[in-house]
Symmetry: C2
Subunit: 514 residues, 2 copies
């Protein structure tokens, strides 16, 4: 015997939620007590529910089309249907700013499901959802006025430098080992907990409820939530869950979160740092995501120094950390070709001043790397690690930004959004009609029959550059100061011309056929 | 019948010259008409003379020891001695600033022959000796007040962008093809001359006389003359001489120049751009240099994008051009290990603003690369390519400097000269006792039992760095701003300490055991 509550309508790509009141015997987290089949004119989907505590189950569904939908809720266990009920609801047109989930526009770019282009400019706040409420609100405030349209963060709490506090809640019922006072100095001595005791079959619904409310907050801001499912910065043991626990966790998270259109699945941060996991594990879990997520949200796996084989079927796009300290992102175009998928450089070294060399470049250098990525047909990712007396660093805790790169990334994003077609592809200077070197991004995809290029000069400081472009056309030229964020048109005529430049770093030239 | 004129004395490592008045039949440039055997208490050397025009032959000898020397001059051809005369002279102690020729201090550094350390900080003016007199004098004036102690330049005239004028003189008798007016635009169309006619068996003594007077000028300034014997920037055909002509030229140059203690032999600039030459040619010519030069001056060969195998016996040190546009010099330590010889990065991209990407980095970037090279145990090389209304660019023509790197290279050179022992070797950060990354140079060689290190942070901006050094000692710490050129001592105690830094680019830390 169970009762259901559900709304009469939802917008397209919104979260339609059926709340179920039921008392079940046994562990309500195990198996699937409730599932529903949703039927609209253009789709039919079977969706698993999840237990949310207090005799409440929920089934969440994201409709991909407008119109009338019906559903049947089935109560069951191990495939055996015990009881059924159902209903209908209306799917209204998507509201303002709702373009549906992000999809790969093959081979190298992204679009929302409604066809609107999505040019990711992401940032990272690994553990922001594990900070106190007030700080989380501040993070959202910062994001609201920033240029970022993707946020990477971890589902599990984080144990790492600057991240020693116990979280308020744990994802599972149980007890955490008391490590005493953790400091920068003894951090390296802390190993995975052996005394923590977790019941991996009993999730703490409040823990996940908090996360999904943040996913929803981000969704309202038009920000994709790049959820990191597993990560190695751990002292509780969550990085070493048994296989069955892991799969239960994956299914639980899929059931709870996947109806949020802005969810992306990031299988790991720095997967190589989880030595207990084999490639087979990552493959199995990746396939589980691919098969169990009813909506096919984007899926990736993030490296430290050894790239994963991103050609694998379950991987939708390459989530990259630079592997060389000096040639950091200048192989973006090669990565694209190697793996045949969109390249998102989520870690290119953060803007900041901490001692670790993954977190102490200048704003100028972060912006330079972002431009190199962009003209090579990839997408950049921001992060910030400035020391702070309160130990609040954007990269992990959120809060406010202290660096200088964000306005320049906004400028970059705006320029990128003006590029026609799907986005940019890399042209080597030998084929880009420019004398003396310099990478070039050219618009690719439908609607790019007319030449549209952005040449980026990075750390070189030419006083002029000569161009030889296809004959028979006239061109519009803009000189772009990527750091000072201004765009100056320069008159040229014919297809062979010289563009005058100021002879300083970080300049670009945009050339479009008239 | 011949007459000789010679001075009574010369300083150690000076040029002792015997002038011979003789009229010979046949071509006086072919074969060896005159040679001399020099005998001192500690050395005996046979030295070939050369024809200098107007019935004058010269035999030049650089004595390596003090004291009385005697010599016998033999006139001959094809090994047959026709006539003999001789004399004695005194070799006095070396004058101020005369430390003898530069030698390799195995495996990775340099010393003058008198044991004084030589830390090269070179620059490049490829064609300065082919410019008008006044400009040459200005170049010497600039060098006099600069930090540079090595200059790379070509023996043959140069044909390249910014270098289209005919030289006043040619090295050989003959006639140059008239290519008309050469410009930036038609430059690429100009191929090697087919109409030029040269008699490679008749050198133009005045041409070589001018060069040696500049070698002597440089010697007075304490600057090593890194002579480029062959290069590809040619429209006259000198890059395509027949094999016998080439060997004759090598021997002539050796006979004329090798008594100047500051001569280095650079076999080629960008050897790969001389496609007529095989590796066998370079090897044969390299061995010729090694065997014919009586003083064993330093010998190298310079690449464009493909490194030569610098392990070859005739190569004394590696003259490197960076081969990657982004990871430019950060493999200096690996090059050292690979070839087991000193690494001199003669081309790391010049400071300037020309369109070509080998000549348009900022002063900051040139200095950054120079520091990376230095802490990795190599030696840097400067060059400058700023556009100028008069088309005078330091890199080729000399003149004056317009950039900002030279004072910073002076600062670097001064710091390097303070390093004890032979110079620096690279320590990876995992063995350098520093937290969070950053390259480190450590003093190596005799007299470096006490820890002496320079950590360089380049483009990273740490606000502090923690060090853990060998126990039981106290250390002196200096924070070095490599761009603003100041050194600030910082008090620390014990072997584990934190060094506070300003959180900006281009900082270094020097740590010495007290």
């Amino acid at each position: 015997m169970f009762q259901i509550v559900y709304p009469e309508a939802v917008e397209r790509w919104g979260v339609f939620e059926i709340e179920i009141h039921a008392h079940v015997s046994g562990n309500p987290f195990l198996g699937t007590y409730f599932l529903a089949e949703f039927t609209g004119i253009q789709e039919k989907k079977q969706i698993s529910g999840f237990y949310d505590g207090n005799d409440r189950f929920r089934i969440r569904f994201m409709p991909s089309f407008e119109g009338e939908y019906s559903f049947r809720v089935m109560s069951g266990m191990a495939g055996e249907t015990l009881e059924e009920t159902g209903g209908t609801f209306q799917v209204n047109p998507a509201g303002k700013g709702n373009h549906g989930p992000v999809r790969v526009k093959k081979p190298y770019h992204f679009r929302y499901e409604d066809g609107t282009r999505y040019d990711p400019v992401g940032t990272t706040c690994y553990a922001w959802i594990h900070q106190e409420e007030k700080l989380q609100e501040q993070t959202l405030q910062t994001l609201r006025s920033s240029c970022f349209n993707k946020l990477r963060f971890c589902i599990f709490p984080k144990h790492y430098r600057f991240n020693f506090r116990e979280p308020e809640l744990y994802p599972f019922e149980g007890e955490a080992e008391d490590f005493g006072i953790l400091t920068w100095d003894n951090f390296m001595q802390v190993k995975f907990s052996t005394k923590s005791r977790w019941d991996y079959t009993h999730f703490v619904p409040e823990y996940f409820r908090r996360i999904e409310s943040r996913i929803a907050d981000l969704c309202r801001l038009g920000i994709e939530a790049d959820l990191i499912l597993l990560h190695p910065y751990d002292r509780w043991g969550f990085a070493k869950m048994p296989r069955q626990a892991e799969e239960l966790y994956y299914r639980y998270v899929i059931a709870r979160f996947s109806a949020y259109r802005n969810v992306w699945w990031a299988q790991a941060n720095e997967y190589e740092y989880m030595p207990d996991k084999t490639e087979e594990d990552w493959e199995r879990l990746g396939k589980l995501l691919m098969e169990e997520d009813p909506y096919g949200h984007l899926r990736s796996i993030h490296n430290n120094r050894r790239f994963y084989d991103h050609t694998r079927e379950w991987i939708t796009h390459c989530s990259i950390q630079r592997v060389d300290m000096y040639k950091t992102v200048e192989e973006t175009n090669e990565w694209r070709s190697r793996w045949g998928k969109p390249v998102v450089v989520d870690e290119l070294c953060y803007e900041g001043n901490i001692c670790m060399d993954w977190g102490n470049i200048s704003g100028e250098e972060l912006v330079r790397r972002s431009w190199e990525i962009t003209v090579r047909g990839g997408y950049t990712g921001h992060g910030e690690t400035f020391e702070s007396p309160d130990d609040i660093l954007w990269w992990s805790h959120g809060g406010t930004l202290h660096g200088s790169s964000e306005p320049r990334l906004r400028f970059l994003r705006e320029l990128l959004e003006q590029v026609p077609g799907d986005g940019l592809r890399f042209l080597d200077w030998t084929e880009a009609g420019i004398e003396g070197g310099g990478p070039c991004g050219e618009a690719e995809g439908e609607g790019t029959e007319e030449l549209y290029r952005i040449y980026y000069f990075g750390k070189t400081c030419p006083a002029r550059k000569r161009f030889v472009l296809p004959k028979g056309f006239e061109y519009e030229v803009d000189v772009i100061d990527t750091w000072n964020m201004d765009i100056t048109p320069q008159k040229v005529s014919g297809n062979r011309f010289m563009v005058e430049l100021p002879g300083r770093e970080y300049m670009a030239v945009r050339i479009c056929r008239k």
